[in-house]
């Protein structure tokens, strides 16, 4: 994904001095994480003109543009960093941009260092490093309102004098100081700043046994303590700030854990309850559009392509939007008030045991709703190894798309008998078991990968727990908008393309004569089957019902669709993979359904319905799905009376779908988030192999035990 020009001509890296007045000024926004950098970005430039990745790396690049006193200013939001001695890809990017070493990104004319007034000592660490770069620099002092509440007063004028650079107080949400910051940027533009003096004296005072980088850190803090002496005054406030009290509860080993569990339960149940009606609404709207478009176009290949290929593909993408928006809304609120770091703090020990870290928790938990927002949420993990590992195992969490498959098969083929207690029934236990299969497999995969391919030095967990504060709604909404938009833009196009390919495979070749022959053959076979069955059996009634449906238009159309699918490339592929799926207890039709469900798992139900000669099942009726259930129960191996669906087969299908990577959207998002096609291929391969092995073991063991 290469950067693209954003309409207006972007400034190039090597401007001629004469053209300086005409081109946009490039200003880089640098700061520690949690300093209100995003809020300041919105206050200065509004909605970003471009969000993407920096060329060649997966670090997010955010650009904005605004005009101040007639000058156009291009704002680059650098990744949040604690130091300019790079230790992560994010920090490397920040340093490279500031030094003008990143191809395709203009060298900044000016740096705005965002510094948190509640925590000036540590923020000055980065600020003084930035001043040493000798770029024109302005310090934007944020969160001064919170600092005042905490009893912290800062002598801005004296700080500005000692650091030899302008210091501007900004309260971004109310835009206080935003104009002044713009003025300060224009004022320092042409200056050649001198870094503040005194650092060298401290450096030579540090014990020489330390490494050079460690010496720099020790000396820098000693210097900062001297620089800030008399500038920052702390008074113990009359009341203990509410934030500290809240924090004591939230990170308490018992209360904190309880609040945490309650928060997560609330978050996920509400995602489920709030997003489901919206998703149903989108589905209905898409059906309505499909009907409308289908009515306008003449029947034929074009209509089929538009309705079954393009619109079905678009619908499949858009339907994820409510879940993504909801999840990012919650994550942004939790992040905005500082809770996300607390969650990582509480869960770190548990996740460390399997080779992950505390920050993997939210992405993994999100993946129970949908792997796509989960994988996107992994952006909050700055360590690339942990992030990749989290992305690779996230699709193993049983997402909401697997639920209809589990519900259908549990309801239809798992005997509804109590297990130990009268209220605990076998189908519910099997359902819970499917979730456990995913979690346990993810833990094992993470454990094995972290001990083999991803082996490396232990990754540090040095995490700031930012002060408790109210989330800024602009930032929260911006995060949601950003997540939804990047999903629609990048993943959308590819998901639609994949859907069209599957449509083509399922639709061609198409020969009416061959279809009619197939329908006639099916009818003959059913009639023969009917004759061989005892008249009183349940199957007799079902087969009779199927035969009767040949007489209705809808029934006949269903059989034709089934025949067309059997003869399509997809159907042929199903027969081709039959030797592969036979050890799982599946017939070729199940293999075919598994292939067809590559774009999205939930497609498997519709495919099963079509392929077992049912016609399309209304997705809304899947759960009760009595017609589908009866047909599946009656389905037999081609030319025999042997049932396809037995308990071991149903379990084998469920285990397969619990572990497989049958979700093109997820694979596309993995490709985008890792900026490589290697990882989607790895994910698909390992998950498909695990799914096959799991289904194989389930079927073989199940058959051995149940006969």
């Amino acid at each position: 994904m290469s950067p693209q020009p954003d309409g207006t001509a972007p400034p190039d890296g090597n401007p001629s001095p004469a053209g300086r007045e005409d081109r946009a000024l490039v200003v880089a926004l640098l700061g520690n994480p949690n300093t209100g950098k995003s809020t300041l970005f919105s206050a200065l430039a509004g909605i970003p003109t471009r969000i993407g990745n920096y060329p060649g790396v997966t670090v997010e690049e955010k650009l904005g543009r605004f005009t101040h006193r007639g000058r156009t200013i291009e704002l680059i939001d650098l990744p949040g960093t604690y130091s300019l001695v790079p230790k992560s890809p994010d920090e490397q990017v920040a340093v490279d941009v500031l030094r003008g070493r990143l191809a395709g990104v203009p060298t900044p004319d000016c740096v705005v260092v965002v510094a948190d007034a509640t925590n000036l000592e540590r923020n000055c660490y980065l600020a003084t490093q930035a001043l040493a770069l000798r770029l024109p620099t302005v310090i934007g002092l944020t969160l001064t309102d919170v600092a005042t509440q905490k009893g912290i007063t800062i002598d801005t004028a004296e700080l500005s004098r000692r650091l030899a650079c302008p210091v501007v107080r900004v309260v971004a949400p109310t835009r206080v100081g935003v104009e002044a910051l713009g003025d300060a940027i224009l004022a320092v533009m042409d200056s050649t700043p001198q870094p503040p003096a005194g650092f060298e004296a401290h450096l030579s005072a540090v014990d020489a046994r330390h490494e050079p980088a460690a010496r720099e850190a020790i000396a820098r803090y000693a210097w900062i303590e001297e620089l800030l002496a008399g500038v920052v005054q702390r008074q113990t406030p009359a009341h203990r700030p509410l934030g500290e009290w809240i924090d004591d509860v939230l990170t308490h080993r018992i209360w904190g854990t309880l609040v945490f569990i309650a928060t997560m339960l609330m978050m996920f149940s509400s995602i489920f309850w709030l997003a489901t009606p919206l998703m149903d609404g989108i589905s209905s709207a898409m059906d309505w559009v499909s009907g409308l478009v289908g009515g306008l176009l003449p029947p034929g290949a074009i209509r089929s392509l538009v309705v079954d290929g393009v619109l079905a593909g678009v619908g499949g993408v858009v339907v994820f939007v409510p879940q993504i928006a909801m999840l990012f809304l919650f994550v942004a609120i939790l992040e905005g008030c500082g809770y996300l770091s607390r969650a990582a703090f509480l869960m770190d020990r548990l996740l460390c045991g399997v080779g992950l870290g505390g920050k993997s928790f939210i992405p993994l938990l999100s993946s129970f709703a949908c792997a796509i927002p989960g994988i996107m949420a992994a952006r909050t993990i700055e360590n690339p190894r942990d992030r990749l590992l989290t992305i690779l195992v996230a699709p193993l969490m049983s997402c909401s798309a697997r639920l209809p498959v589990y519900l259908l098969l549990c309801g239809a083929f798992v005997p509804n008998i109590p297990v130990g207690f009268s209220w605990l029934r076998l189908p519910a236990l099997v359902l819970a078991g499917m979730y456990a299969v995913g979690v346990v497999t993810a833990a094992l995969v993470a454990l094995i990968l972290s001990r083999t391919v991803f082996r490396g030095p232990p990754q540090p967990f040095v995490l700031e727990l930012p002060g408790w504060r109210w989330p800024r709604w602009q930032v929260v909404l911006e995060r949601v908008r950003e997540a939804v938009w990047s999903f629609l833009q990048n993943a959308g196009t590819l998901i639609v393309a994949v859907s069209i390919v599957i449509w083509a495979l399922a639709s061609y070749p198409h020969s009416d004569a061959a279809i009619e022959a197939d329908v006639a053959a099916t009818r003959t076979a059913l009639a023969a089957q009917l004759a061989s069955l005892p008249a009183s059996s349940l199957d007799h009634a079902d087969v009779a019902e199927q035969l009767a449906s040949f007489e209705t238009d809808a029934g006949l159309a269903g059989f034709r669709r089934g025949a067309a699918q059997r003869q399509s490339l997809l159907g042929r592929m199903g027969r081709l993979v039959e030797p592969l799926v036979r050890p799982l207890g599946w017939d070729w039709r199940l293999g075919c359904a598994a292939i067809a469900s590559f774009p999205a798992r939930e497609v498997v139900l519709g495919t099963l319905a079509v392929i077992y000669n049912l016609g399309d099942i209304d997705p809304g009726e899947e759960e009760g799905g009595t017609a589908l259930v009866r047909r599946l129960r009656a389905a037999t191996w081609d030319g025999t009376n042997r049932k396809v669906f037995t308990l071991p087969v149903a379990l084998s299908i469920m285990v397969f779908f619990a572990l497989c990577a049958q979700c093109a959207s997820t694979l596309v998002v993995i490709g985008r988030e890792t900026n490589s096609w290697l990882w989607p291929v790895v994910t698909f391969t390992y998950m498909t192999v695990l799914a096959w092995l799991g289904a194989f073991a389930t079927y073989q063991i199940g058959t051995a035990l149940l006969g």
Binding site: A217, H252, L463
Partner: protein, 73 residues
Amino acid sequence: MSLEQVAVGSTARVTDVSGSDSTSLRLLEMGLTPGVNVRVVGTAPLGGPMELELRGYRLSIRRHEAARVAIAK
């Protein structure tokens, strides 16, 4: 004595951070330099990370990282 052994609620003064890898540099950059006072605010369940207060902010580090930080009471 190391920071790992400091009881919840107590304050200690950092005397040294051992090691010369990126972890110890990160600890120094986050402000755990010799001479700074650190209060142990709490710990996560199951022997998880420690929550510290220093230089006016709160920081969380794992126990084996805290073990690198030498302190004086």
